[in-house]
């Protein structure tokens, strides 16, 4: 599966497209991590736990999106966009969407 965030797959010709595909996941960290992050907020710096959480979630969102593309018979997703929103306190929603296409 080829993933790009431009209009085309550079160097390849798009034969057909199947419309939009999307993948999303809502994740939360357990209370222990939240408390550690609260402490870390006192001194600043990177919240490793959250970076990890969001990275994991983003990977899963992409994976779900490519699964949709696979079901449609596509072999590439172009013009992918990411979006993050906080649906609930302490929880983040990661969302990826793009256009499923078949390239030569």
């Amino acid at each position: 599966m080829i993933l790009t965030n431009v209009n085309t797959v550079p160097g390849k010709k798009i034969v057909e497209h199947f419309g939009i595909v999307q993948g999303s996941t809502v994740r939360a960290k357990h209370v222990g991590r939240d408390i550690m992050a609260g402490l870390k907020n006192l001194v600043g710096g990177e919240l490793k736990g959250y970076t990890e959480l969001l990275q994991d979630a983003r990977e899963e969102a992409v994976q779900r999106m490519t699964e949709q593309a696979r079901q449609l018979g596509a072999n590439a997703v172009v013009n992918i966009r990411f979006a993050t929103s906080s649906v609930a306190q302490g929880a983040a929603e990661l969302f990826a969407y793009g256009t499923a296409v078949r390239v030569e």
């Binding site: 497209h17 999303s24 992918i80 929103s85 306190q89 929603e93 256009t99």
Partner: protein, 158 residues
């Protein structure tokens, strides 16, 4: 009778939970059925996130279309999400919430485009926002708004 007055809070809570569960899953099933039916109807209408390039004189008109939906979560799923917040991991209760909101928003955008005689929507963008940011706080709404927007294109007959 004494038990009822003593555990009044608990009884109300359980009643709300049952109501949330039954009414919530009924509404969700109904909504999904409607989403699937309308998606099938609009299947031949093309939407893409990519920009499209058209030959000169091919486009009759192009205009912005948008559709949005605000979906709220039921009491049962909210409790489930609060519990899940403690242990961490995937909040399955919210997955269908955002999924429904997103598909509904896209459907409404497509309906607007079709109603105005468009043939396709290009450069689709989706935005999600929460209404009442902390959805699992007391007295706050647990709901998401999704807005879908793009450029609808109506083509000249060839």
């Amino acid at each position: 009778m004494e038990i009822v007055t003593r555990y009044f809070d608990l009884i109300v809570f359980l009643a709300l939970l049952t109501l949330g569960y039954t009414a919530g899953s009924f509404a969700e099933r109904k909504h999904y059925a409607s989403i699937v039916r309308r998606e099938r109807e609009q299947l031949t209408f093309q939407v893409m996130t990519a920009e499209a390039f058209f030959a000169e004189g091919r486009v009759k008109k192009a205009f912005l279309v948008s559709g949005s939906a605000v979906i709220s979560i039921d009491y049962f799923k909210r409790m489930l999400a609060i519990l899940r917040n403690i242990f961490g991991g995937r909040i399955k209760a919210y997955e269908s919430l955002v999924d429904r909101a997103r598909r509904e928003a896209i459907l409404r955008m497509k309906e607007q485009a079709i109603g105005n005689g468009a043939h396709m929507v290009v450069n689709l963008r989706l935005e999600t926002s929460t209404i009442g940011n902390s959805a699992n706080r007391k007295g706050k709404l647990g709901s998401v708004e999704v807005v879908a927007y793009g450029t609808a294109v109506a083509l000249n007959p060839r």
